[in-house]
């Protein structure tokens, strides 16, 4: 279990906001950082960097493909570009990313904000629900999604100073409860165990990690002992941790604000299948349908990502699959 756990529901911040603040600090330390945005700098929170470092910030206009190509050129010339837009718009220019950034294996940081149902009222067209699936399919592309503001900051610090190669980072519009202490250490590619149990394990990513954590506490009251793991790195996925968790629990549940096809649920399934592990798995997420408008809270309730719905689904899954004869 992580020693950095410090869940504090009274401290909340959107991961996009934590990103924007950290980017300004990193800009001071790293002159090679450049930032591009496609007319959403106020929303993606790259505006802080724009203000502080106008010479290293580029308003690309509503022209995401051009932004991606330009970032690739900057990266090929030794810069570390952070290119920002809503996840749906930037991942939507898949083939441009595929060749200019991924195939070139450049140090570009693709920042996709307003991920998932969490964007709320704007509805499906602005809602990244397939971005993880797309980005995960590109060889050499790191796919990251922080679960709280502290982890976001540490992740951005790491990506500003150390990491080599292209990365897609998925951030939320909505506030996230602070889960970690300030001295949290981010480890690329490593899952973070938030809670240890023995019956069932919930593997969650991004904005729904906290909901999964609280749901798991409620499960204890039903006498179900549950583990919760925060998967901030969707690719490369930590295989050993998943194998170990699957072997040491009766049931697995994945929780993500993304289509269950191609996201965390798929990544975990692939590991289980390839290792010949038959632990039953429930994938909680958007069930291969389009999202819609509504408050984030209403949508989480309707699509099964609220604390209550995660709890209910997990409980039902556990009870059903525990019935004799199955």
């Amino acid at each position: 279990m992580t020693k950095y756990l410090k869940v504090n529901p009274s401290v909340q911040k959107a991961s996009r906001t934590a990103f924007g603040e950290t980017l300004v600090h990193m800009g001071e330390k790293h002159p090679e950082i450049v930032v591009l945005d496609a007319d959403l700098s106020v929303s993606t929170k790259s505006a802080g960097f724009a203000k502080k470092f106008p010479d290293r910030f580029f308003h690309m206009g509503i022209a995401e493909a051009n932004m991606i190509g330009t970032a690739a050129g900057l990266a090929l010339s030794g810069k570390t570009p952070f290119l920002c837009s809503f996840g749906c718009f930037v991942a939507g220019r898949f083939e441009t990313i595929r060749i200019s950034i991924a195939y070139n294996q450049v140090n570009a940081r693709i920042m996709g904000t307003h991920a998932g149902l969490g964007i709320g009222e704007d509805g499906y067209t602005q809602m990244a629900l397939e971005d993880i699936a797309l980005m995960r399919s590109l060889p050499g592309m790191g796919v990251l999604q922080p679960g709280d503001p502290v982890e976001t900051r540490k992740m951005i610090e790491y990506l500003s100073s150390h990491h080599k190669g292209p990365v897609y980072v998925r951030l939320t519009r909505q506030n996230l409860v602070s889960l970690f202490s300030e001295d949290y250490e981010f480890e690329y590619g490593k899952g973070v165990v938030l809670k240890e149990g023995k019956d069932i394990a919930l593997l969650a990513t991004g904005g729904v990690v906290y909901n999964s954590y609280v749901a798991s506490q409620t499960l204890e009251k039903e006498g179900i002992s549950s583990t919760v793991i925060n998967i901030h790195t969707l690719k490369p996925i930590e295989e050993e941790l998943i194998v170990h968790t699957a072997k040491s629990h009766k049931r697995l549940v994945t929780v993500e604000d993304h289509n269950i096809i191609g996201g965390l649920g798929s990544a975990v399934s692939e590991v289980l299948a390839e290792n010949g592990i038959g632990t039953p798995l429930l994938r909680i997420g958007v069930e291969d349908i389009y999202g819609e408008s509504g408050t984030a809270e209403n949508l989480y309730e309707k699509y099964g990502l609220s604390i209550n719905k995660i709890y209910e689904k997990t409980l039902q899954f556990f009870q059903e699959s525990n019935r004799p004869g199955r």
Partner: protein, 221 residues
């Protein structure tokens, strides 16, 4: 929907509240339904949804795609020997998308004189004035260079709008572009040309003040 209707494609999909309001007033759906806008299970999505609400000709909200879709409709009309027209409303920030310029290239090739595009040239987008974010001036010359029939009008003058739409029927063999110069938030003192109002809903007090200002102006002429 009847087959020979003119089509209207709202490429700048975020403008859909006004489209819904116009449709409600025209009898497409009961006016009370307007209040479900952006709420869960509503047909009136935050951005136009053709499947939930088939009166909408095409889903939009990811900027830059509507003109291509309108082009497809215009080609289909030609193939079917239909007389209806396709109207497509674009934002002046939206036309920074490369795909727009791909249609700028292709529509004249297909001689789509049944396609009428309109740019809401309000000089604004989310990150600022279009001239600062990504300037497209001289806009008229650009579309002319791509071989469109281009008119530039004051987009707040109804007679200019109607005349331009009529004129767009005359020129044959070319697609039509109407650059409508507008002011964001026109007629509301605290909204006019103020970028901060993009995508922001007024409070009830601000709404009342805005309606009063607009009524005063319209009634005084």
């Amino acid at each position: 929907m009847w087959e020979d209707r003119d089509r209207f494609v709202l490429s700048k999909g975020h403008g859909c509240p006004i489209l819904y309001a116009a449709m409600a007033k025209s009898g497409y759906f009961p006016e009370e339904e307007i209040y479900t806008l952006r709420k869960i299970n509503s047909r009136l999505q935050g951005h136009p949804d053709h499947v939930r609400f088939p009166f909408i000709e095409t889903s939009s909200g990811s900027l830059g795609q509507g003109l291509s879709v309108a082009q497809g409709m215009a080609i289909a009309a030609k193939l079917n020997h239909k007389k209806y027209k396709i109207y497509c409303l674009l934002g002046d920030g939206e036309i920074q998308e490369g795909q727009i310029w791909e249609t700028a290239m292709s529509a004249p090739k297909f001689q789509l004189d049944n396609l009428v595009a309109i740019i809401d040239a309000n000089q604004g987008q989310i990150d600022g004035h279009t001239r600062d974010v990504m300037d497209l001036a001289p806009l008229k010359k650009k579309w002319e260079a791509f071989n469109w029939d281009v008119q530039e009008i004051n987009g707040h003058e109804f007679h200019e709008i109607l005349t331009a739409l009529d004129k767009a029927q005359l020129e044959r063999k070319k697609p039509h572009m109407i650059i409508a110069n507008t002011v964001k938030g026109k007629g509301v003192s605290f909204m006019e040309d103020n970028i901060e109002w993009h995508g922001v809903a007024p409070t009830p007090e601000q709404r009342d003040k805005a309606i009063k200002e607009l009524n005063d102006k319209v009634l005084k002429g």
